[in-house]
Symmetry: C2
Subunit: 408 residues, 2 copies
């Protein structure tokens, strides 16, 4: 038994969160090593019961009355709960609904609208495609310019990088808290403060951090934020995103997709749109109440475990993965694309090797399931409550064995 394997066993034994693993569907199957919880979290085990209860009672018995009995406010009540449990946001600033893409669109448009006279959007080339594509679309339609950041891909955007491009024309800075490929953790309070000094607003994408890292949106002075809920919030494929607007901005902010549900008096159905008071003005269509159910099951577990304990386990999981990568993958030419310093590392790591593009299909067929990110990265996304240290240990060993077979 290698040092790392002994570590894995010992780490599972002393893991205060170990018991949570059994509360997810599929974790009892030894044939699956799941290393992609940051693309799609596993379902919580009691979810089928919750869904049955919802279908048979809340929906099936209460029927349309459900809208008066909680559903209408569900984007706000669940938003407030996300604010409390994982976002560090006081009530009244967060809603759930739409996709991350649509939320980004609304927020960046809102940022531009709040900044008359400023027409430049800062975004980095390493950001997730959706963020870049949304910015490109908005720039084209609004006649805005894009100031591209081009940070070292192995790390990420720094305060100095951002300071270097801020001008009196910068309306908004659009960045990710945790980089989707490298896992680099951006300095959200530092960058937000730098943007504010230059009179710009910030839009943070929290897709790869929410549920894995402590977030303090209010304390960090964030203006706008959004993120998906199917990664570390285990909301299921395509679950709705959340959207945050700081209390200070809400009442003067506007968004372009004006629907019934974001209007001041929806049931009056008046002739002209007037935005609702508060964060509800960021709601557009009918809230996806049914689609919110899986994430609620996960939020229960996160609240019980506590986000600080989750972060501690996350760092131990990625630390073990790095140790194993150094021991087993690096000797075959693989390189770590993720910061080694714990404070700069999100919930996943990426390891690059030219042979990886060929290996991924074989690994998946064998039940070893990391993700792949171009050009040649294997990404290990280690969802803290559902992943064991043994799973990481066995997973990296299987990747090493396939790499050995492919490179000898």
């Amino acid at each position: 038994m290698s040092a790392a394997a002994r570590d894995a066993a010992a780490l599972d034994e002393s893991d205060p969160l170990a018991a949570y693993r059994a509360r997810f569907v599929g974790t009892e199957d030894p044939g699956i090593l799941y290393l992609d919880g940051n693309s799609l979290g596993r379902p919580v085990r009691d979810l089928p019961e919750r869904l049955t209860r919802f279908v048979e009672h809340e929906w099936g018995e209460r029927l349309i009355r459900g809208w008066d009995e909680g559903w209408f406010d569900q984007p706000l009540t669940l938003g407030d709960r996300l604010g409390r449990v994982v976002l560090g946001a006081a009530p009244g600033q967060t809603i759930v609904g739409d996709s991350t893409t649509v939320s980004l669109y609304k927020l960046i448009r809102a940022a531009l609208a709040a900044q008359p006279g400023r027409r430049t959007i800062v975004v980095d080339r390493g950001n997730f495609p959706t963020d870049r594509y949304v910015v490109q679309g908005i720039a084209a339609e609004c006649g805005a310019s894009i100031a591209w950041l081009d940070p070292d891909p192995a790390s990420g955007v720094t305060v100095d990088d951002v300071r270097g491009v801020l001008t009196g024309d910068t309306a908004a800075v659009v960045l990710s808290h945790v980089a989707y490929r490298s896992g680099y953790v951006a300095d959200v309070p530092g960058i937000s403060a730098a943007a504010h000094e230059a009179g710009a607003l910030v839009v943070w994408d929290l897709c790869h951090s929410v549920g894995a890292l402590p977030i303090r949106l209010d304390e960090w002075g964030v203006d706008f934020a959004t993120g998906c809920t199917y990664k570390y919030l285990n909301g299921g494929p395509g679950s709705p995103a959340f959207l945050y607007v700081s209390a200070e901005l809400i009442e003067r902010a506007s968004q372009p997709i004006q629907g019934w549900m974001g209007a001041r008096d929806p049931f009056v159905m008046g002739p002209d749109y007037a935005p609702a008071d508060g964060i509800r003005r960021f709601v557009s269509g009918t809230p996806p109440v049914f689609a919110m159910l899986p994430m609620v099951a996960m939020l229960d577990l996160i609240e019980e475990a506590g986000i600080d304990a989750i972060r501690a386990k996350s760092l131990a999981l990625t630390g073990l993965a790095i140790e194993l990568s150094d021991e087993l993958l690096a000797p075959r030419g693989a390189t770590l694309a993720t910061p080694r310093e714990p404070a700069l590392r999100g919930g996943h790591i990426t390891v690059d090797h030219p042979a990886f593009p060929e290996l991924i299909a074989t690994l998946w067929r064998a039940g070893v399931i990391p993700d792949f990110r171009r050009p040649d990265g294997i990404r290990l996304g280690l969802s803290p409550l559902s992943t064991s240290f043994a799973e990481v240990d066995m997973g990296v060993r299987r990747i090493a064995a396939e790499l050995a077979a492919a490179t000898t």
Copy 2:
């Protein structure tokens, strides 16, 4: 027993679709008379099993591999199925995702973008608030004008009404197939042809018709259409909308919310957004796969029953409701806000009476559940597969009894 009551019993006995009622959750409860299937359809009875299977197998076992095994194409494959079963659309023109509000936004923006030099949008004051509010938002941001139609609220928009406002500046006509309040059925092919003659495009809202009336989008020459799936498609609270673009327009159409999933090669994650070929370019964010499950259960039933049989029962249900309203509500001063001619009537009827605003809470508490629409309408939305004639009969009698108590 009155004539109408005898009719109800006889109609249930001879109803070829009567057996479907048992296939919905809650229909066994005699304490609930559900007359609001056009706001929220009942859940299909086997939905809990389907959801459990999805959570435990498709999601829980296949995990991220699900995206390669069907989920990625799910907006298109389910769209094609909607096209075949309820929309009269050939494959490759329909997707599922987003809310109706967001879909309307994309489509109206697409219509404007496809009509350079034309800056007027036609919409009617009787249209659902979301349609009007989305148009108002787009007009403001794009510098477009609105040409308001003001049809008789008891009927709806006619070909002549539309002809009366069309000009060489008209870019798009935004109307509903079935009016949300009166239930009036617009002449989709006639109005679309009139718009086309004037060089304008049409955007049809099908929220109140899809699943209850036969629709022939391709045959009718419709350019753009959208609609929700939680009414007669029983998709559950806040289920995703569908979006249709005619084959002729897709390749030259563009929409403003550019996400990863609508890009040409999403997994290349290239530097610049290029729209995917075909209808996929109208996808923005990650498809709401989990949220699509309930409507699939309903589509199975609709396909089995056939939309023509469903329409026949729908007309019989609303016909009985009108007969009962004439017999029991009209003598107390209630007036029918819905066309009597079957061809002009959707799947619901609305009856107005000044006392109705006060009655609705009492009715709901008593398990008699119609909808209410300002200023004083009770709307009966009679979902054909889950509603019995006896339910309509008892429901209207209970409304009549409450009205009698309130007006004597």
